[in-house]
C-alpha cells in the first residue's frame, strides 16, 4: 500500500469538507440527533411499563422506515442521474420535470411497497407482531406517511437543483432532523413544550400518535388522521410550490445544465 496516495485522498476529502460545510452534518449533527432521539425514548421507557411497548416500538420502526426510505429515495434517484451524467440526456427528451419527479415518486412507492411487505412478514414471523391489527386504518396511516415523505423528497430535489449535488449528503440526513420531533417511538407528550409545538405541525407525528392509539385501544384515531391529512395538504402544496419556484429559477440562471 502506498501511504502517500492514501494520505492524498484523505487530504483531498479534508479540503472538500472545508468547502462543503454540509458534510459536517454527517459527522456531528447526525449523531447528536440520534442521541436526542434515544434520550427521549429512555425517558419514556422509564415512565411506562406496558405490554404494548414492544408493539409501539416495532410499529413505529416499521412506519418510520416508509418515511425515511421514500423521502431519501427520491433525492438519491435524482442524484444518480447526475452522477451517471445522464441528467441532460433525460431532460433534453420530451419529458417534463414534473413527469420526471412523478416517475421518481412511483419508483419510491414500488420499492417501499416491497420493503413494507417484507417487514410486515418478518415482524409477524419473528416477533409475532401483527401490524395488520391496525386494520384499514393502516392504509390511511400509510397514505399520510407517503404523502409527507413525498413532500420531503420533492423539497430535497429542489435543494439539489438549487445548490447542486454537493448538497447530496443532506438527502440521507434530512429525515433524521425530523425524527426526534416526529414522536416515532414515544408520544408527543414526552417532548418538552417547545418541541411539542414543533411536533404538532408535523403530519408524521400525528400518524405515529394514531398508530399507538389504535394499537392500544383497537380503535382508529380519527382526529389524528384528519390533522395529519390537513397538514399534508399544506406540506405537499408548499413543497410543490417551492419546487416549481426553484425549477424556474434554475432554468433562468442556467444551473440546470450545470448540475453535472
Amino acid at each position: 500500500m502506498n501511504l502517500k496516495r492514501v494520505s492524498a485522498i484523505i487530504l483531498r476529502h479534508f479540503f472538500l469538507t472545508m468547502h462543503q460545510l454540509e458534510r459536517f452534518f454527517d459527522v456531528i449533527v447526525s449523531p447528536i440527533l440520534v442521541l436526542v432521539l434515544w434520550g427521549f425514548l429512555s425517558k419514556y421507557v422509564q415512565n411506562i411499563q406496558s405490554s404494548t411497548l414492544a408493539s409501539f416500538l416495532l410499529g413505529g420502526m416499521i412506519l418510520w422506515v416508509i418515511f425515511e426510505k421514500v423521502s431519501t429515495d427520491i433525492g438519491v434517484n435524482f442524484m444518480f442521474e447526475i452522477w451517471e451524467r445522464n441528467i441532460i440526456n433525460v431532460l433534453a427528451s420530451p419529458i417534463t420535470f414534473i413527469e420526471f419527479i412523478s416517475a421518481l415518486l412511483i419508483i419510491s412507492l414500488i420499492k417501499i411497497l416491497i420493503a413494507f411487505t417484507t417487514m410486515l412478514l418478518m415482524a409477524a414471523i419473528f416477533y409475532h407482531f401483527q401490524i395488520t391489527a391496525l386494520g384499514f386504518g393502516l392504509v390511511l396511516l400509510w397514505i399520510n406517511l407517503f404523502i409527507f415523505a413525498a413532500s420531503f423528497g420533492i423539497f430535497n430535489v429542489s435543494l439539489i437543483l438549487r445548490y447542486g449535488h454537493s448538497i447530496g449528503p443532506l438527502t440521507w440526513i434530512l429525515p433524521f432532523f425530523v425524527q426526534p420531533f416526529a414522536a416515532v417511538f414515544y408520544p408527543i407528550s414526552i417532548l418538552p413544550p417547545i418541541f411539542q409545538k414543533l411536533a404538532f405541525i408535523l403530519p408524521i407525528s400525528h400518524v405515529f400518535e394514531g398508530m399507538r392509539y389504535t394499537l392500544k385501544t383497537g380503535q382508529f384515531d380519527t382526529a389524528s388522521f384528519w390533522i395529519a391529512t390537513a397538514l399534508n395538504v399544506v406540506y405537499i402544496f408548499a413543497s410543490v410550490g417551492f419546487f416549481v419556484y426553484t425549477f424556474r429559477k434554475v432554468l433562468k440562471s442556467g444551473r440546470l445544465v450545470k448540475l453535472i
Binding site: E81, R85, I88, I95
Partner: protein, 247 residues
C-alpha cells in the same frame, strides 16, 4: 425549391449576471440542412443549444421549431428533436439495449425494439447490445450516443461536439454514417465542433459565433472567401476559425 424552416431563432439574448452569453442573435435553419455552428470556447454555442432544448430560459427573444413556439409546445416539439454530446453519456450501469429501450420509451418511438435493432445494425453494434456502457470503448460510446440521438428519427438533430476527443478513424466513420442517415431521413442537423475537418466534411452551412454574437455565416467556401481571400477555391475553416476568433 422553397424549403421549410425547421428552426428559427429570433433576437435571442441570455445573460448570466453581468456576462452576456448570447447577444441578440437571430438565425434560421432550413429543412435538410447540416448547419455547422462554430465559435471559440465560451462563445455561446452550447448556451444557444440549451436554449433550443428548453433547458435554459432566454432573457429575450423567441425560438420556433417546426413553426411552433418552444416555450408553449416544448414536449410536443421534443418528440421530433434529439440531442447528443460526447460530454453526456448514457447510464453506466445499464447495457446498450436497456439504455436504448429507456430512451425509445422517453421519445415515444413506435416499434421501439425494431428501431433499436435497425440502428444497432447500421452502427455495427448488434453484437454488443448486452454490454454494459462502462465496458465500452470511447468510440463505441460515441456510436451509442448517436444511436440514442437517432432513435426517434428526429427532424431536428442537435449535436454538440458529439465526437470530441475521438481519433480520426472514429470521427471519419461517424461522419460518414451521419451523412448517410441524414440524407436518407432528410434530417436537419445543427452541429458544433472544434474540429474544422469534421465541419468541412459534414456541414453545408456555417454560422460563426463569438462573444455571443454572429460574426459570419455562409457555406464553408463562402466563409473562406469572405474572411480570408476572395480567390479561394477550397474551404479552409481552420484559418477562418483562427482569424475570426482573434479579430
Amino acid at each position: 425549391m422553397n424549403k421549410k424552416t425547421v428552426l428559427e431563432v429570433k433576437n435571442l439574448v441570455k445573460k448570466f449576471d453581468d456576462f452576456v452569453a448570447i447577444d441578440d442573435i437571430s438565425f434560421s435553419v432550413k429543412e435538410g440542412q447540416i448547419f455547422g455552428f462554430l465559435g471559440p470556447n465560451g462563445a455561446g454555442k452550447s448556451t444557444t443549444i440549451y436554449c433550443i432544448l428548453g433547458l435554459i430560459e432566454p432573457d429575450e427573444g423567441e425560438i420556433q421549431i417546426f413553426g411552433k413556439d418552444l416555450k408553449s409546445c416544448r414536449s410536443e416539439i421534443m418528440t421530433q428533436v434529439n440531442y447528443a454530446s460526447a460530454e453526456f453519456i448514457l447510464p453506466w450501469n445499464l447495457n446498450i439495449w436497456e439504455n436504448l429501450l429507456v430512451y425509445a420509451k422517453l421519445y415515444e418511438v413506435p416499434n421501439g425494439k425494431n428501431r433499436i435493432k435497425e440502428l444497432l445494425e447500421v452502427f455495427e453494434m448488434s453484437h454488443l447490445k448486452g454490454r454494459i456502457i462502462r465496458d465500452l470503448s470511447t468510440g463505441q460510446r460515441v456510436r451509442i450516443n448517436l444511436c440514442k440521438a437517432l432513435l426517434n428519427k428526429p427532424k431536428l438533430l442537435l449535436l454538440d461536439e458529439p465526437m470530441a476527443s475521438m481519433d480520426p478513424d472514429v470521427v471519419d466513420k461517424g461522419i460518414k454514417l451521419l451523412k448517410q442517415i441524414q440524407k436518407e431521413e432528410n434530417m436537419t442537423v445543427l452541429y458544433t465542433s472544434h474540429n474544422m475537418w469534421e465541419i468541412e466534411q459534414i456541414a453545408n452551412n456555417i454560422l460563426f459565433i463569438n462573444h455571443g454574437k454572429i460574426v459570419a455565416s455562409g457555406t464553408p467556401l463562402e466563409l473562406t472567401q469572405q474572411v480570408l481571400r476572395l480567390e479561394a477555391e477550397e474551404p479552409n475553416l481552420r484559418d477562418v476559425f483562427i482569424h475570426l476568433s482573434r479579430s
